[in-house]
Symmetry: C2
């Protein structure tokens, strides 16, 4: 395949929208993006979920567009039914649905659109500012799997937790993953209560129970599964990409001191399951087509993946060229109206395994994925210190050396997160050969509240 | 507290039912049990889920009982609404609901019942033989956590996987658990396809991908969560038991050769998530009241649990006195009409941690449990070889010694499961001081199908 999958005229950078803010070169949400979201609307005294896409600084209310009859003569049943859905799960499980919806919505939103007078009259009724919209999770995430796909992250953390045995022998063969907790996945903006738990100092005879003292974020990219596979029926490399509905940002909050004491032999549990924040928009695989890139090139000496994880097309286009940033704002910074401090910038090109390989591995034993399942990449870290996606790595200078805190503009120092700190993650795709429009993910935010008394 | 929680006149062993099979002393389902179940019924060309309880060898169809108006004048709104529910989740999350429903149903089912003529007329319409009823999962299990609460199991497996480091230092402090996969929880009777995956021989340079060669069962008891807790709000020991709706049997199928290669550092993943079988009936906490017992008595020298995991009432009544058995039937045994072979018999009294402690630990960091969540105990193994709840332990005779296969009556031998083998788990409570009726769990069955070609 010479061009990335799904690249077509919907990515034409000259396409403009009558929503002026969508034409701003700096927006995350041009007409070429149209990420899937949802929000809560009160009517008839009840709270209803409305489906939406983002366009510039506005939300396009798809449920209201459907209720106004905009899709009523559509040839596709799934498109006609969209107004009745409480979440994107069912729709995004239908092959080809997102591409169809993308074209319908571009036709409604484009500046040169010929939707006629009735479409024009609808415009004011179906737009509302993102900033004033109570966004919720766009899809129900029934299952959550967290991978460990950055070899730089695995090597750094391995060195800290197991100095003699940093990168385990299975790492270059197995896309390591484990199950996370679906019930505590929360949308961007919900406060995170500092967890309490057992920790044990190396020189102590017994553990103690109390508030976490090494609270951390983890910068990750998540896949939302579209089409499911039946139990007992693995997904092949040739089909894996088709199971990706889209991507979002994930902050896999982590209690490092609790993790160290609890994680053997069955893996992280309470150190992770108190909260996982996801960004409110699913940036579709269709929107990301211009930013597909080669999979990570394994250095000489590394083994090639086993046959079931290998595919030429994956080598050429299995990656996503995404830039990721983490920003920090302390309570004092907020009070002094200081801007967030950028703590790191990394690239998703650096991941050792692609999402396609993670999907194939996950289903290789017959495990069934369901629409809306969240598969997160694991912490995205690169080779340079400022590309490390969590504080555990970011403030680490090597075995035996003291941690080097991050200095905030207020003079405060951070080795791990303090109460009142807000973490803001952002990521986006831009540049490349075709002069394509920037495709952004929006923000993934969370503020730390103090522990239960 | 001098008597177990919830013990009352609904456990009176002299209570009899007009359903004659329920009065058989050997039945799992006397009128004192009434476990929660569900089945599929076709009408109007659609498949509908009906709620049910088991009584003797019959299913009492609660949805039809409700549709016939039996609950229409009930003072409790939840009882009146029961006919509209697709699963038990919402109902069993309401405090006190199960006790109320238990009394309503006993009054309908008891031999000396005074339900009047109309109730008598309903009898034939709402009963159907269990053997002819397509049972489904009684509750949606949105989240699944698997614990590791048998110290005997942890010690045996630890010795095999880590000869120098069998029982890790955290075991006696932390009720170790990890997240399982909710999407692949299946009801009793559904076939299990042998998984494929990566395995690596100790002396091989590289892993290979292929069908699992060490397929195993794990005998476990599961809690179905009733009342939820809000995110950020831990459950205390004094309240933990109230979050248990009931118990079921769990077979946590395991691919041992895959597990050994993949499980470090983040825990078991593909070795477990291809299938987990649950028994079709939720035996309620209310029904189990006569069989509550003291928590495991820690031997001298073991530490006491930390304060947040300690409670006098838990010490006295936190346990469940359940006997558990595993039976095996090979394809040849089935063809020769031979009865199943009992492979093990164990007791749930031997568990190091109680379910109350598991619930408190799970929520101690603020993690939210949801109605219908499944918390499994981990493999139930005792001290004697014939009380070990999985083949990994059952056919193990010690480090460096060859495994000792189980001999089947056909002359076949089993170290691990072969294609066509069926595993049948059963468990029950009986005996004790009050002459209480036996309370059984029914069966948890699964047959191994061959791997994908």
């Amino acid at each position: 395949m010479d061009t990335p999958p799904l690249l077509n005229e919907t990515h034409d950078p000259s396409l403009k929208s009558w929503v002026e803010s969508a034409n701003d070169p700096a927006t995350d949400f041009p007409i070429q993006n149209l990420p899937l979201g949802a929000f809560v609307m009160e009517h008839d005294g009840h709270r209803h979920a409305h489906l939406a896409v983002a366009i510039g600084d506005q939300v396009l209310d798809i449920t209201s567009l459907a209720e106004a009859g905009y899709f009523q003569n559509d040839p596709d049943e799934e498109v006609r039914a969209i107004g009745r859905l409480p979440a994107w799960n069912a729709a995004m499980s239908v092959p080809g649905f997102i591409e169809k919806m993308r074209r319908r919505l571009q036709s409604f939103l484009r500046a040169d659109g010929s939707g006629g007078q009735s479409a024009r009259r609808l415009r004011s009724k179906v737009l509302r500012p993102i900033a004033e919209t109570p966004l919720i999770r766009p899809a129900m995430n029934f299952n959550y799997t967290d991978f460990y796909a950055s070899i730089h992250h695995a090597t750094n953390v391995g060195t800290m937790f197991r100095p003699d045995n940093a990168l385990l022998p299975n790492y270059k063969w197995v896309p390591i993953g484990y199950h996370g907790r679906a019930s505590s996945i929360i949308p961007s903006g919900v406060e995170i209560r500092r967890p309490s738990g057992q920790t044990k100092a190396d020189d102590a005879a017994a553990p103690v129970f109390g508030p976490c003292k090494m609270l951390d974020y983890e910068l990750e990219v998540g896949v939302l599964v579209g089409a499911s596979n039946r139990m007992g029926e693995p997904v092949s490399m040739g089909r894996a990409d088709h199971h990706i509905a889209g991507l979002c940002l994930v902050n896999d909050w982590s209690a490092r001191d609790m993790q160290k004491w609890e994680y053997q032999p069955l893996g992280p549990f309470l150190a992770k399951n108190f909260a996982t924040t996801v960004s409110p928009w699913i940036v579709t695989r269709e929107a990301l087509a211009p930013f597909r890139c080669a999979a990570y090139k394994r250095p000489d000496g590394d083994p090639q993946p086993l046959e079931y994880l290998r595919d030429e097309n994956n080598e050429q286009w299995g990656g996503f060229d995404i830039t990721l940033e983490v920003h920090l704002i302390s309570k004092s910074m907020r009070e002094q109206n200081l801007p967030p401090l950028r703590v790191s910038r990394g690239s998703f090109r650096d991941m050792y395994w692609t999402f396609a390989q993670m999907i194939v591995h996950h289903t290789s034993n017959g495990c069934n994925l369901q629409p809306g399942d969240l598969l997160a990449s694991g912490t995205v870290s690169g080779t340079s210190p400022d590309s490390r996606g969590c504080l555990l790595e970011r403030t680490w200078e090597g075995t035996g050396k003291p941690r080097k805190p991050i200095e905030l503009p207020t003079g405060e120092k951070r080795t791990f997160l303090e109460d009142g700190d807000e973490v803001v993650m952002t990521d986006w795709c831009e540049g490349g050969a075709g002069g394509h429009r920037r495709i952004g993910f929006g923000e993934c935010r969370g503020t730390i509240a103090s522990a239960n008394a």
